[in-house]
Symmetry: D2
Subunit: 346 residues, 4 copies
Amino acid sequence: MKKVAIIGGTGYGAIELIRLLQLHEKMHVKKVISHSQHGDSLASIYPHLTDFIEEPMDELQIDKLEEEVDIVFFATPAGVAKDILPQLSNSKLQCIDLSGDLRLSSPTEYETWYGKEAAPQELLDQAVYGLSELYAEEIKQASVISNPGCFPTSALLGLAPALEHQIISPQGISIDGKTGISGAGRTPTAKTHFSETNENVTPYKIGQHQHIPEIEQYLSDKAKTPIDVAFATHLIPMTRGLICTMYGQLVRETTTEELLEIYQSYYENNPFVRIREAGVFPATKDVYASNFCDIGIHVDQRSNQIIIAAAIDNLVKGAAGQAIQNANLMNGWEETMGLHTIPVYP
Amino acid sequence: MKKVAIIGGTGYGAIELIRLLQLHEKMHVKKVISHSQHGDSLASIYPHLTDFIEEPMDELQIDKLEEEVDIVFFATPAGVAKDILPQLSNSKLQCIDLSGDLRLSSPTEYETWYGKEAAPQELLDQAVYGLSELYAEEIKQASVISNPGCFPTSALLGLAPALEHQIISPQGISIDGKTGISGAGRTPTAKTHFSETNENVTPYKIGQHQHIPEIEQYLSDKAKTPIDVAFATHLIPMTRGLICTMYGQLVRETTTEELLEIYQSYYENNPFVRIREAGVFPATKDVYASNFCDIGIHVDQRSNQIIIAAAIDNLVKGAAGQAIQNANLMNGWEETMGLHTIPVYP
Amino acid sequence: MKKVAIIGGTGYGAIELIRLLQLHEKMHVKKVISHSQHGDSLASIYPHLTDFIEEPMDELQIDKLEEEVDIVFFATPAGVAKDILPQLSNSKLQCIDLSGDLRLSSPTEYETWYGKEAAPQELLDQAVYGLSELYAEEIKQASVISNPGCFPTSALLGLAPALEHQIISPQGISIDGKTGISGAGRTPTAKTHFSETNENVTPYKIGQHQHIPEIEQYLSDKAKTPIDVAFATHLIPMTRGLICTMYGQLVRETTTEELLEIYQSYYENNPFVRIREAGVFPATKDVYASNFCDIGIHVDQRSNQIIIAAAIDNLVKGAAGQAIQNANLMNGWEETMGLHTIPVYP
Amino acid sequence: MKKVAIIGGTGYGAIELIRLLQLHEKMHVKKVISHSQHGDSLASIYPHLTDFIEEPMDELQIDKLEEEVDIVFFATPAGVAKDILPQLSNSKLQCIDLSGDLRLSSPTEYETWYGKEAAPQELLDQAVYGLSELYAEEIKQASVISNPGCFPTSALLGLAPALEHQIISPQGISIDGKTGISGAGRTPTAKTHFSETNENVTPYKIGQHQHIPEIEQYLSDKAKTPIDVAFATHLIPMTRGLICTMYGQLVRETTTEELLEIYQSYYENNPFVRIREAGVFPATKDVYASNFCDIGIHVDQRSNQIIIAAAIDNLVKGAAGQAIQNANLMNGWEETMGLHTIPVYP
């Protein structure tokens, strides 16, 4: 049984890690670390955890971490992991960062989009991008994982096969993202205030979302050519769930059926990707509280475009679930360990 | 005071007409006609109408309609208005059809997309498409109006200026539609069942929605060149509200500021279109229960695309409100009569 | 046309006043006053008001108020109106306070439940409780109105007839309140954070809500005997709407039919109270965005209790709408002026 | 590994059983039986089950059931289990009926409240009421379980200790039930239509709900005196979750602290009941997708009443979860087997 520490204990990413790890056979949560609320019990903040996590949260003691645990999950806001990780570089700890700190290979890009100082270049070079299906071999060798953003997980899983098979042009790709409000985290703001958000679709950060360079970097990597995308994100009045609907310009003749075969083949060894049959698209609730990414595909002959939608639970495949999937890969365990659960429906 | 009949009295379109007409100075509802529930009072079906509409609904008597009322709104399912309207062709009635029966100029197209027999060609020729802002002059002369669909209202108002000004290519346009569930009407189905729809985004009719040919016909008309679009629609867990997010490929250099000026100028005499300033996009709740169409624009230099979003209330500007706006135009009244109300917020 | 000032311009009470007053024939909004955001335009905060209220908000200048306006609505947090109102006591202004400052006749009670210093006794004595249906005659003579709380409006309208007719005991009354989240105002908090509130029923302030003494004071007044109630409130995942379900112990034999007659007769001259027939109860959506209070009644022979439910829109009949209704009464206008609109449905 | 059959395979009860049993160590689903859709795969109806349950559903063959499985769950509508169960009376099958067929000991009562013919008296006598915490000893000996209704589960767990300890009077009890829409099942109706149910609280079956005699029978059993309750149920705009807020008349002096001790002691060996501390009440989301029943208590000295709220997930503790808990008890397994999961939050 490997021992786990979770840093950033009071955010949604952390409590989702706790929920999922409770079902894991080879990891258990040893320490929950919170800077702002150490000393409090998690159950006092989150009553749903009553009888599960009653111990007080700890303050971070970097020098003791290696002796106390084997695996560290960073469920911290942007800008925290990049400062802590260099201090752990000589340890045997496996580190998985759920924040955006290590996702962009270029420090300049990070500073442009995140408005913060970037991580040191050598840390960026060391970190492996943890999109489990697309970078499994690299992940298996990694000690530091940069866990993907929620939108990039959906967008990359949806677009990579079409781009790698040169079905669509690298130009003219549009990604329409729709996310539940939990993606905005636990801090109350006007944007997450129930009365403003309920019964409402709110476009936000149009063309300016920090997930744009992340999507482009890895799409470009897979397509082996530079790619820029139009990306518009929308807050949807639901708590969990995320779907990107993607539009690409066809560069050769194809059919929905051919494309489905390409996708099925591409993901045939990936238990968490499920491809819908022709004429059927996934809804976000089909993957609720689970680690699946469900994908639907339509070749739109009339407009000479393809339409692809990829649905995930933003807190699971888009965050905590994929982090555990990566830990499984890093440790040579069954990829689905602790994650092979049926989505909660309805 | 002109007298109004509403045919199709128990649907959401009809009760929204009733709600809005209660505030109108020059029209009042004389008859509510229901085929399936004549004899019942509307308030027994819709308790919110208690003390407003207590009389029983009538059955349709076509030959008496002309003497009883001046204006007829068809809030009927597809396939009804096209059979009744020819029988009124010699009357002086002003007829406004909220269904899709008269929206496509080609009977073949109608039969392909609607799966029903089309209206007679002469009726199609006679009907004027009631997108108030784009066809005001024609509407003022019309006796039969084909009221636009909800998605086409948003898509056409959002895209027409950019196409007319040749900012974007007629090729490669993608429209991502998001609608509240009331757009699916009042008949309970699995798709509108609360437990399945709540906390869920459901893509549906991807590339196959009957609003596609309507959007294309009038976009082509405005752009003066044939246009095919990729169109994907999504059910959102809210009752009212609709937003299309639209992506177009730029064909010349421009900026968000230039485009905003073009749009403001295009709609400067249209009181129901409100253009947001740079960096701000409308949310659907900004127009809740009102006749506004709010538009946001972003020129995405990196991907060489524009992103436009146009928000409406699907039951008001997307149905009953625009029908009243058209009646105002047809009768030479103030265009905003009965409609100049502040959206319900929050 | 009387001129109106609204103090507390950025809260939900204020913008609901603005929405409703836009339809009023005899009042118009002259000044919107905000302490924290004067100088900003309301439309910059609330884009739904674009083209309606573009002028900047003002700072409060007490000494100019009387010359500038005729009627002042206080849509302020607890503790503000009580300090301003004494400075207006020699003016001819009609003042309507939507906060709780003047609702309790005992300063001690106020200080116990609100945790703030109470208003001066003479101001409390001067203020008339603005539950329009129960205190219409007093309201017509008043210059200072204490507008009721949302829960008390529902509870008092629901219980007063049964108590006045001595159908139920003054002991053993339970009131189960359920409210949409907008009742908590516009300030984001954990309790109003979408991800925590959505798909959730949250009991709060059980037995400790500041509306308890208000309900008891006026129930006692109507029943002419001291009354204490058990009162439990619940946040419901919706924006607007409030319903109290009330349970009382029968003290004499009766039937649902007899009780319905009593209630219909009690409210026969009150256009905003609608009594449902036997076997039918109102839903909150039946009164959405309107000033109605809809009431359902059931005599539960088996348990010897009555069950009464009274539904209102918490922002209209529970706040801004009733404030306008009171202004109508104070000025001798038609009670329904500006308020006789059909609820928004669905 | 015991083999399980689920009869009534396409309802929400059945798919929740499937979800939960996927995590169970000693039971696995061998057959899913559907009368109306046998031959179809569950995944074609419920895409979230893709890759989990791909085999077609079976038709019921009563005579083969005993050889094929060990345990049968009836997730059928009212009136089905009572006809099938007598045909299995000589088998060794363990049968758990999630419908209401066997809950009332009196056939007359059943026929009055359900409007259907009752089960044979001997079957009613044989069946043990499966409220796990209150009837554990009987359940351990049973071969036929009548699984409780969702409201009774909450109401009985909330009220039993106070009644058994004679804290409250058997007269004057009021129960205010609030349930998510999934309690109404999967068949689309006007009452479950999103546009009518969203942003709405709908009282229904006031004083007439078929759970009333069930609550009264077992409350009377525990209190050892006849009890009649006032019971009002409300549809809440959420999918899952149920809370009963209960009001009782105090018959002796007590405090919240004393009552909390009584409750904690009463449930000290019941891992699925969690008692909140003084001043804190549970929200339905605290138990989402889990088998917990969380209880909050307040002694309202002013009104001489107690207020108790008990929150469950209607599909888990209120249906499928409790059925599995009962199977655990019947088979001598750990009571929490397969059910000790953290609620899904947020």
